[in-house]
């Protein structure tokens, strides 16, 4: 249909949707009034039961651990989908970037940019590891720390060029870490079955609340999810980078 007809149709549909949303949202409890009973109970019980101080991590990886397993696999499938979509097609080939004027020397990256890249990438690596391993104590965890770890590669690319970052992102290693992260979650869940209780139950020793190593499988699952998310986002960026720098139409 024409653009104008589409916009008119949208206006009518949006008015109906807005009315329905208004009725629906008006039925919600008033903003900030009360908490659900499940939430109140978990806020009370989680620090004592699981020896963690960050209740959100305990819910993500212990009380509702099975949901996080599915979310992680959504991430894995999205990254696999991107790898399939951005593969070199039948009329394309992979060719490393070449200098079009080989008699001129390429100016090296400016020392300020290079120094900033070195400083930022080491800082990001440490922050990422800290966020991943302290997920059960403070806000953080596998998902956030994983993206911070992946950004180390982005900063290296921004500070140098494609050839350098190509050396730092061996595809086999990234894909292995992605797969290991996803399967590691399932294997840790199977530990529960082996110990005689249910899948994904917290069977490792819980430690003392507030320690660097506490929470049992919550911390292990944080690390595993961090590895998976870092590998996934690094693969994602490397696929897009390859498209811009390397994949070219085959010259006929």
């Amino acid at each position: 249909m024409s653009r104008r007809a589409r916009l008119v149709f949208f206006a009518v549909a949006a008015a109906a949707l807005a009315a329905a949303l208004g009725v629906g949202l008006a039925g919600l409890p008033s903003f900030g009034a009360q908490l659900s009973a499940y939430a109140r109970m978990l806020n009370e019980l989680a620090p004592r039961q699981r020896h963690v101080t960050d209740v959100v991590s305990a819910i993500s990886f212990d009380y509702r651990g099975i949901d996080t397993l599915f979310e992680e696999f959504i991430l894995l499938s999205a990254v696999a989908g991107i790898s399939v979509l951005l593969r070199p097609l039948s009329d394309e080939t992979r060719r490393l970037p070449q200098d079009k004027a080989p008699d001129r020397t390429i100016p090296p990256p400016s020392p300020a940019v290079w120094l900033l890249a070195v400083f930022l990438s080491s800082l990001l690596l440490l922050t990422g590891i800290e966020t991943v391993t302290h997920g059960q104590l403070t806000p953080g965890g596998g998902f956030q720390g994983g993206v911070i770890l992946a950004s180390v590669l982005y900063v290296v690319y921004l500070g140098t060029n494609y050839a350098t970052v190509e050396r730092f992102q061996p595809n086999a290693l990234l894909e292995a870490s992605d797969g290991l992260g996803a399967s590691g979650y399932v294997l840790i869940g199977l530990l529960g079955l082996l110990a005689g209780t249910s899948f994904l139950s917290n069977v490792v020793s819980l430690g003392i609340t507030g320690d660097a190593v506490s929470g049992g499988t919550i911390q292990l699952l944080n690390v595993v999810v961090g590895v998976e998310v870092a590998g996934g986002f690094a693969i994602l960026a490397s696929e897009f980078l390859d498209q811009t720098a390397v994949v070219r139409t085959r010259q006929r």
Binding site: F10, V147, F233, E239
Partner: protein, 115 residues
């Protein structure tokens, strides 16, 4: 206050869909879709909020801390944000391949079949 809070959610969703419907550029379309998606995260967190509540992190609290906000909603919204970014990346990969085949990023110019 409730009206503003829930109204912002409905506004974000509707303006995101308007962006998708009236877009002339596929990349603009995908970013508008992510705006609509963030509306649902805001709704989840608003449902879980409690007046005068503190974050559900039980360390270094003052003497009379008061209630904590809903941690279950935060656990739901947390993975939603990261996975939403991965799905946006998947959509952008589709857009890149569409551009290669069709030569244009205008949704109105795309045709269902190849010439």
């Amino acid at each position: 206050m409730s009206f503003l809070a829930y109204g912002v959610v409905a506004w974000l969703f509707l303006i995101g869909i308007y962006g998708v419907v009236s877009s002339r550029n596929l990349i603009h379309l995908v970013v508008c879709l992510s705006v609509a998606q963030s509306g649902t995260d805001v709704l989840l967190l608003e449902i879980g909020y409690r007046n005068g509540g503190h974050a559900p992190v039980f360390v270094d609290l003052p003497a009379h801390p008061g209630p904590a906000v809903d941690a279950v909603m935060q656990a739901l919204a947390l993975t939603d944000v990261v996975v939403g970014a991965a799905v946006t990346a998947l959509l952008l990969a589709v857009v890149v391949q569409v551009h290669k085949r069709a030569g244009t990023l205008d949704p109105d110019q795309l045709r269902a079949t190849r010439d």
